[in-house]
Each structure stands twice: as C-alpha cells, then as structure tokens.
Subunit: 186 residues, 2 copies
C-alpha cells in the first residue's frame, strides 16, 4: 500500500443527494446539496453545509426552518437542475409541488419520496460555508416507500453523490451490527 | 403521492461508512461511524457525530485530532467489527495497521484506501451526540486508487450505510452540474 498525500481537500467518500427547501422572500426554493448527514439521535438532528453566498441561506436565516428532500434516481435531472440555477436568477418554486408540515415555513417537495422537516438549532460559521444544524420536527414519506415505519432504501431509490457524479445504491453487501461477528483477530 | 408523517427521527437517505481514528489513552482506536459529511470548502472541513458515551470521544477531546478512514467493500467485516466492540472493552489497535501524518496524534488505518487527517475545529453539543467539526489537514490515499489527484470512487469501492445495512455504489447515473441541463419547465 503505497500512500500518497493529496493535500487538504473537502473530501467525503459518499454523500446523499438532497434538495434543501426554504422559503426565500416568501417563495419556496429548492437547492441541491450533498454535504449533509445526521447530527444527533436525541433529539433527532441533521446538518447541511451551505456556501454563505447561496440564496437559500437568506431563507433559512430569516425563517429558522428548512427541509431536506430526498429525490429518487428518477428525479436526477430536476435534482441537478436545482444546483445549476440560483433562486436569485430564476424562480424554482415550480420545479416541485410544495407542501408544508408543522413548521409552516419549510417547503417540502411532494415529488420526492422522503422529506425531512427541520427547525434550525444552530448555524456554525466554518469559513466559506455555514453548517446548519436542524432539529428534525417530522419526516414525511410516500406511503408506497415506507416499510416498518421507516423509509425503505430500495423502494425510495436515493441518489448517492460522489466524485462530482450521481450513483445508484444497488446491492446490499451486509447487515450492520452483524457482519462484524465474522471478524477473527489476526 | 399519499404522504405519511413518520414522526421525528434521525433519518438520512445514504451515509458513508467510516472508521474514526483517535488515540485514546495513548493507543490507536478505530470506531465505525456513518453520521459524517463535508462541513466546509475553504478551509476544508468535515464533521462527524458521535454519541457522548463513546470511548473515541475521550481521545478526540484529549488530542484535538482525529481521522476519518474510508474502508472498501472488501473490508466490511473489519468495519462492522469496530462498531460492535468498544475500545473500552477490547483493544482495537490491531484491527488495522496505524500510520500518522502531520498531525501526530490522529492514527490512520493503512488498509483503508483513503484516510482524512483532521484537527478539531469545534465540537457542538447537540444532545445525545457531539458533532465534531475538523479541519482537513491532509488526505492520504493508496496510489492505486487515485485519479487526477483525487480518490476515485469506483477504484476505492466505498461502502454506503443506509437503513442499518451496508451497500455498494455501483452504477453512475449522471454527471453532476450537467444532467440538469436537460431540465425543461413543466
């Protein structure tokens, strides 16, 4: 294993492809983002990093609410479109059908199989990006993709973002908290 | 699209499978984690959420350094093992061969194709979990999986974590910042 040092870079192996929903100037807006993950179990929280210059930032700071919407692989064109075009230049309210949950100012994309409704907990200034940490108020999903009360991965067909490309998650390799039982000390 | 509200939960569509490397009580330790993403472009930062009770937390808080190591699909047993067993109960230093970079206290797993070396920037108390935000000091990779100065996704064969299972990333669907050009207003 010959290692090489590639220098500092914002690298992550695989990331989710998401649409950040926010009301900006009173209109629903959707922005593509991949720098997101779960931040806490109890209370449930998620986080997403957004460039300070983004139109969406204004809406989150104004309303202290946002949503993370999970497009399916069939929606890759719409998902990528929302990353190519800024809401400052073009009204993106019509790309998806918006609906609202308990938080009245976090628009969610009805065409996406899963939407995470969030109330802002904290934003951390990291430099070029703000890391928005949001408490999950509710998770909304298409009835058809839910199994055992949770979104089913195979049915929702989420898009992985890696190396500036979109990928499908296809084959389940192993169950977690199980595969490791086969481990034997070397 | 009949929507159902599933209630608040720490949901994310897809996540990376990682091994968090930290020196704890002077010994390298590796812990499986999936709640991680990029937090900033400039300076480059990543973040990872860890339960406060984890053995690894002690090491990160002590040294203010950690690493995120990306196992390949071939290492799924070792990766899951490090999530089943706590370093408090069992010495996990021997699961991987440790090496160190510029930050002298963040052990990295040589068998993993990619390792991200971090210096702690900030930790955010979210409740059950601490969100550790780290500045990326360097990215180390096996020469064989690097293409154009970056880790290649197909070659490094990372593991996706979703719905308590490990998945392979298999088919590239579209290029990002490109597919959206096909979008036509409805």
């Amino acid at each position: 294993m010959d290692k090489i040092a590639l220098g500092p870079m914002p690298y992550m192996s695989v990331m989710p492809t998401l649409l950040v929903g926010a009301n900006v100037n009173g209109r629903p807006n959707y922005m593509t983002a991949a720098w997101a993950t779960v931040a806490c179990m109890a209370p449930p929280m998620v986080c997403v990093a957004l460039n300070k210059a983004r139109y969406t930032v204004k809406g989150i700071e104004e309303n202290k609410t946002f949503s993370l919407n999970v497009p399916s692989a069939a929606q890759v064109v719409e998902a990528d479109h929302c990353g190519l075009v800024s809401g400052a230049q073009e009204d993106k309210a019509g790309v998806f059908t918006s609906f609202y949950g308990r938080v009245k100012t976090a628009p969610m994309a009805a065409e996406c199989p899963v939407s995470i409704e969030c109330r802002l907990f904290r934003s951390v200034d990291c430099g070029s990006h703000l890391l928005f940490i949001g408490e999950v108020i509710d998770v909304h999903a298409d009835q058809s993709i839910v199994a055992d009360g949770r979104p089913d991965t195979a049915k929702s067909d989420p898009i992985v973002y890696a190396q500036s490309a979109y990928w499908k998650v296809e084959k389940q390799v192993e169950k977690a908290f199980s595969a490791g039982k086969k481990y034997r000390k070397k």
